[in-house]
């Protein structure tokens, strides 16, 4: 085997790896869709809390979590069925999100009713967990901006720890924008640029 043949084989390997990476790139739709929907719901919750309509606010929270689950199912699982290539990275990323969503649901619904924590701590603890999910996503997709945006969740948790229940949703809206929608936009930009590169080759 001569040098030229080796170089040819290296080119084949590189090309195939790049093609697979392009095909399995994360579109960011999951983060953007969940982010926008959650902002709408949390804004509604904040407004209801402002008028002391806590029961109605809790109902909106249930609708929000059910909707988040539905969006997750549509954007992740249904799309995954249509995909030609399944990647380890996406599987790990979605597993982390699922693993973080479950304790968030427990914190939001179970703990306040069991009297384990007060309502004002729901947002704080949920934000700490969401920070972990966003941070892990940044590491998985090698995006420094996403890693940094996880700080928004943790900083927000600190701020909310000193606030009452009423203004908390408004802080969360900012955190969702920085910590969910922005990473989604970044991933989508990368995905689009990769798709354009794929078409031109």
């Amino acid at each position: 085997m001569n040098d030229q043949e080796v170089q040819k084989e290296i080119v084949i390997i590189k090309k195939m790896i790049e093609k697979t990476r392009r095909e399995t790139a994360e579109s960011g739709h999951f983060f953007m869709a969940i982010g926008i929907y959650s902002i709408i719901c949390i804004s509604a919750m904040g407004t209801l809390n402002f008028f002391n309509l806590y029961d109605l606010s809790q109902a909106v929270m249930i609708v929000m979590l059910a909707g988040d689950g539905l969006i997750g199912y549509i954007t992740v699982f249904r799309k995954e069925k249509k995909e030609k290539v399944k990647s380890y990275l996406k599987t790990i990323c979605y597993s982390i999100w699922a693993a973080c969503a479950i304790p968030t649901i427990i914190i939001a619904f179970l703990f306040p009713y069991l009297g384990v924590i007060s309502r004002s701590l729901v947002g704080v603890l949920s934000s700490l967990i969401m920070g972990i999910a966003v941070f892990s996503t940044g590491i998985i997709f090698e995006s420094r901006i996403i890693i940094w945006s996880s700080l928004a969740w943790w900083a927000g948790a600190l701020v909310m720890a000193f606030l009452k229940v009423i203004p908390q949703p408004f802080i969360m809206v900012i955190m969702i924008f920085i910590g969910w929608i922005m990473p989604g936009i970044i991933l989508n930009k990368k995905y689009r640029s990769r798709s354009i590169g794929n078409e031109s080759r």
Binding site: M1, N2, D3, V6, K8, E9, I10, I12, I13, K15, M16, I17, K19, T20, R21, E23, T24, K81, K84, V85, K86, S87, Y88, T91
Partner: protein, 103 residues
């Protein structure tokens, strides 16, 4: 002296189409037949032959399922295949180094 004989290059991995298939499968969890055909730019029959050879060598696993009414072939790399691919890359690296030293 022939360097290939000294290094015992794996002839299963050595074929360009099979090398391309393994490069894809080592990067992904699994890939379907359509993607492999498009990426390797080969025909159905040719790809099928190479996939069968890789499966017989224990380098890949082939799962045949149905997506609605359409049959679907999903391929994934086995541990043996991943090791063989890794060894092949090491051998390529050795060849490059030897040729650099010669020059």
């Amino acid at each position: 002296m022939n360097q290939d004989k000294i290094l015992h290059l794996d002839t299963i991995v050595h074929a360009p189409v099979r090398l391309a298939i393994l490069s894809i499968l080592v990067t992904a969890e699994n890939a379907n037949f359509t993607f492999l055909r498009e990426a390797t730019k080969t025909t159905d029959g040719n790809l099928n032959t190479h996939l069968t050879k890789l499966e017989q060598s224990g380098y890949i696993r082939i799962k045949k399922t149905f997506k609605g009414k359409k049959p679907q072939t999903i391929c994934s790399i086995s541990r043996k295949g991943a090791k063989a691919f890794e060894l092949y890359l090491e051998q390529l690296d050795q060849i490059v180094r030897r040729q650099k030293n010669k020059t």
